[in-house]
Every structure is written in C-alpha cells, then in structure tokens.
C-alpha cells in the first residue's frame, strides 16, 4: 500500500475548519460553557449533597476533572464523527480537497488535528468556570490544556475511524450510544472505579480511553490522587498513534476508489 506523504499542508486543512469555526464563534463557544455549568450545578452541588467525600475529596472536586475529560472527548469525537461525515459525505469537501495538491492523508490528519484543537478550545472555556467554583487547583490545572490536545487527538482519531466505517449518518448513532455513552459512565467519572469489581476495573483500564483521560485529569486538578498517571499517559500516547494509523487506513479504503 502506497502512503502519500504528510506535509505542512495539513495546516491548511486544519485552517479551513478553524476559519469556519471562527465565522460562528458566538455559537461555537456556548456548548462547553453551558454543559460544564449544568454538570457542575447538577452533579457537583445537586447530587453532591447526598454524597460523602470520596477518598477525602469532596464530591464537586472529584467530579470536576471528569467534566473536563468528558468535554475533551465530546469536543473532538463529535467533531470527527458527525462534523467530518457531513464534510465528507454531504458537502464533498474531502473530494474538493484531494483535487488540490493536498493528499488524503493530509485531509485525515488535518481533521484529527482540528478535533484536537477543538478539545483544547473547549478545555480553555471549561477551566475558568471550574476555577470560579473553586474546584480545581491552579496553576497545575493549566496542564489540562496540553492534555486536551492529546485526548482530543485520540478521540478525534477514534471518531474518524467510525466516520470511515459508517454507511450513513444514522448508523453513526451506534458507536455513540453503544460505546461513548457507557464509557462516559464507566470511566471513573461520576463514581470511583475502585467501587466496581476488580475485573471491571481491569477491563476499564485496558480498554477505555476515557478512564485514562479522567485519571490523568484528576491527577492534575487534585495532585494528591496520581497513582497511575504515568501509565495512563503512556497508554494515551500509544493508543493515539495506533488509532491515527488505523483511521488513515480505513479512510483510504473508503475514499480511494
């Protein structure tokens, strides 16, 4: 199989998406702000009233890093599934791009890079809100921004794999509710993983990218809770590399006819 080279033209693919994002920035900026606000109020303070502290951490502080991690996941995953699918299938943007000196590989990497960037933007919007609630420690939590990029690249690449696979926009709902939604609950987000049977814990840490993202985010906002931080970071880096390669393969198979 012949792989076209990936050059700095990736930036132009990324730039096209960024340009469109800025055109509608007033709308684009709202979802992460409101999502995190509601999550914080409903879970942190609503539900939190009924929850004892978790391992010496009060519930709003426990849930805050999970809200960031979920924000990172949603920002990039939904961008490279529904967003990329609309560009690829309905708008034929990919077809227009590959008729220029841009290669298919550059289109794919550019889309994933944009997913990662969107995750960083969302993180940057969520952090001030959490800071206002006083539930994250600064300046350590600013490291969530580069973590947003890493997590965003991974979920962006995962999303693009499903985009390469899906026959229609409707079937894209399957990975969303069969994988993303359960993962959102089972990744140590709203309750700690060690309250689950140990086999489930092993499976979660072997397979669920969000579990690692949450555990790293928590290590950054609550420096006292960092048992597996290095393992999680390595897991995310390796997974990102592998899934990106896979997404290029799957997309080539779909687009090169």
């Amino acid at each position: 199989m012949m792989h076209g080279p990936v050059s700095r033209r990736v930036v132009h693919v990324w730039g096209r998406n960024f340009h469109v994002f800025l055109r509608t920035w007033q709308v684009s900026f709202l979802p992460p702000i409101f999502d995190s606000l509601f999550f914080m109020l409903a879970l942190g303070y609503g539900l939190g009233q009924f929850v004892q502290d978790i391992g010496g951490v009060d519930y709003p502080r426990f849930v805050a890093p999970a809200i960031v991690a979920i924000g990172i996941m949603n920002a990039s995953y939904y961008e490279t599934t529904y967003g990329s699918f609309v560009r690829m299938y309905y708008q034929k943007t990919f077809d227009a791009l590959i008729a220029t000196p841009v290669t298919i590989e550059e289109v794919i990497v550019g889309e994933i890079l944009w997913g990662g960037t969107k995750a960083v933007i969302y993180t940057a919007l969520i952090l001030p809100i959490l800071a206002l609630f006083g539930v994250i420690s600064l300046p350590g939590s600013l490291l969530l921004l580069p973590l947003g990029l890493l997590g965003g690249l991974l979920f962006g690449a995962i999303g693009l794999c499903f985009t390469a696979w899906t026959p229609s926009i409707d079937t894209l709902n399957y990975p969303s509710f069969l994988l993303i939604t359960p993962m959102m609950v089972l990744s140590g987000t709203f309750f700690p993983l060690d309250s689950l049977p140990s086999t489930v814990q092993y499976i979660a840490f072997a397979l669920l990218p969000l579990a690692h993202l949450v555990s790293l985010a928590r290590a950054l906002t609550l420096p006292s809770t960092a048992p597996f931080a290095f393992f999680s970071l390595s897991w995310l880096v390796v997974a990102t590399g592998l899934v990106m390669l896979l997404s290029v393969r799957l997309m080539r198979r779909r687009l090169v006819v």
Binding site: R16, D95, A96, V256, V257
Partner: protein, 303 residues
C-alpha cells in the same frame, strides 16, 4: 514537437468486476479543447478522475503534463484545475472565501489569493454575490464559482466534468461564453458532456465513449463527414412517400413516424420529392454527432 498535455494508452478502470473504462487511448495537445462524450455510465467521470489523480488507474499508461499520474500526483494537481460533476463548493463559506480558502491548498499567499479571487469573481460575473454564502446562489452561479475556483492556481490544464449539466439554457450559454474566453487565452481544456450539440460547437477534437470503449474519435467535422452525408432530411412516414422512395431506390431509415434520408445534395432531393408527392412535413438539417451516434449504436445519446 511539444509533448502532449494528456497521453492515455490502454487506460483501464475497474471497480470490482465492473470494467468502467476499457482500454482507452487518446492524446490531448496544448491549447486544444478536448471533449469526452458519451451517455450516462459510459465512463467519462472515471477517466476524468484518473486524469485528476483522485482515482487510481487500474492498468495502462496515463501521463498528464508529461508526468505519470501514479508517480507525481501532487505536482500534477498543482498545475491543473478540476471542476467535478458534483457540486463541492464549501457551503460554510462565502463566495470570496470559497476562492481564498481554496487558494491556501495551493500555497498561494494571502495577498495574491485575495487579488486572484476578486479578479475571478469579476470575470465570472459574481461581484454582487461576493460576500454571500453559497446557498443563496443559483445553480448557474454555483457552477461558475466552481469553475472560478478551479482557476485559482492559474492551471495549464482545466478539466471540467459535465460543466453545463442540469442548468437552464441561459445559464449554459453563459458558461460556454466564459469557457470560450478561457480558450482564447490559450488554456488547454478537457471536458465531458452528454450534450453532443454543445460539444460539436466547442471542441476541437473529441472521443465518443460507449460502455467504457471509444466508439468514435476525431474532430466533430471529421467524425460526421467520414460517416454520414452532409445533410439529413426528415419526412413524415407516409405510404406515398415510402412508395416513391422505394421506386427511386433511395435508402431511408425509419424512426417511429419519421423517415430519415441522408444526402450530400439536399436541394436536389427536395425538388424531386416535392414534384412527385406531397409530404406532410419535411425538414432539412445538417447531420450532427447525435445522428452519427444513433446510427452507430441504434440508441439515442440523450433519452
């Protein structure tokens, strides 16, 4: 002698078991307007996508601007402009942005992109729509913008896949008029269409494809004159007319309630038939590519 702009030799495109392009050979020289004609499914888009380096060649040789498509796609794509059959303008962007954002993919700097965009917007009569989003454009305007976008990198070869399909006659005329201007600037143009009549007027040379194979090739004039008499006469299919034709030993073809006769001396024929019987309807016209296609395949190209 200059090397050809496009050289196809035994070109084949297969999708699974389906042979869409079946060993096609042709060449296009600099400054030529070259037409790829044929009914739907003949393989026009498949050939155009291989030339545009967006679809791999199954087998055979294909060189564009002197470079083999499988070795130098990036270099080739930098020097061609492609108008694809399906609209792929960016609906998230304005007319102007569609051109400037596209220019970045060719590494054209911002100032130059902006200059070229405004020049092209003027050339294609879109100045009033410069800052509107794509949705509010008519079909003809969208197609003109797509052509404008294909010219942003000042291509040496412009490739258009059915540039006028789906447009009303007025919008089509406008597009041909702009393409004619492009042609007189010396651009090499390759286009596909299933409007034989438009191709006949516009193309220097063309191939007519049918089911992936080249059926006819040459200049429109050559193709017609080599296969048919100059004029074509259509007469209402009536018994007395048929009787007279049979008696005179003039051969004709029957198409429903019409009889067709081809001749190089239409004036003489009309004088004789009018003297002999009174046909209800009689039409004399020049033979066209459509007539050649019909005679060659027994099918009309446009159904």
């Amino acid at each position: 002698m200059t090397s050809p702009v496009i050289l196809a030799d035994g070109l084949v495109k297969r999708y699974g078991n389906l042979v869409a392009v079946d060993s096609v050979s042709f060449r296009v020289d600099e400054g030529e307007v070259f037409g790829i004609l044929g009914p739907n499914g003949a393989g026009k888009t498949s050939i155009i996508r291989m030339i545009s380096c967006t679809s791999p060649v199954t087998s055979g040789r294909l060189e564009v601007l002197g470079l083999p498509v499988d070795g130098f796609p990036r270099d080739i794509k930098a020097r061609i402009g492609v108008v694809s059959q399906e609209n792929n303008l960016d609906p998230d962007l304005s007319v102007y942005e569609n051109l400037t954002v596209f220019a970045r993919f060719f590494e054209i700097n911002r100032a130059e992109a902006s200059r070229r965009a405004d020049e092209l917007i003027g050339f294609f009569g879109l100045s009033e729509k410069r800052d509107t989003v794509i949705e509010s454009l008519s079909g003809g305007m969208k197609r003109r913008l797509t052509i404008a976008r294909a010219l942003i990198n000042r291509p040496s070869l412009v490739i258009l896949d059915e540039p006028t399909t789906g447009l009303d006659p007025q919008a089509r005329a406008l597009i041909w008029e702009r393409l004619r201007a492009l042609r007189s600037d010396g651009a090499t143009i390759i286009l596909s269409t299933h409007y034989l009549e438009e191709a006949e007027r516009f193309c220097d040379r063309l191939v007519i494809l049918d089911r992936g194979k080249i059926l006819l090739t040459g200049s429109p004039g050559e193709i017609i004159s080599e296969r048919m008499s100059r004029a074509l006469i259509e007469i209402m299919n009536e018994p007395d007319v048929r009787a007279w034709l049979d008696q005179e030993g003039i051969s004709y073809e029957v198409y429903g309630d019409l009889l067709q006769i081809t001749t190089d001396t239409p004036e003489d024929f009309v004088r004789r038939i009018v003297a002999a019987c009174t046909p209800q309807r009689l039409l004399v016209r020049n033979s066209t590519l459509e007539d050649v296609f019909l005679r060659q395949t027994g099918r009309r190209l446009i159904r």
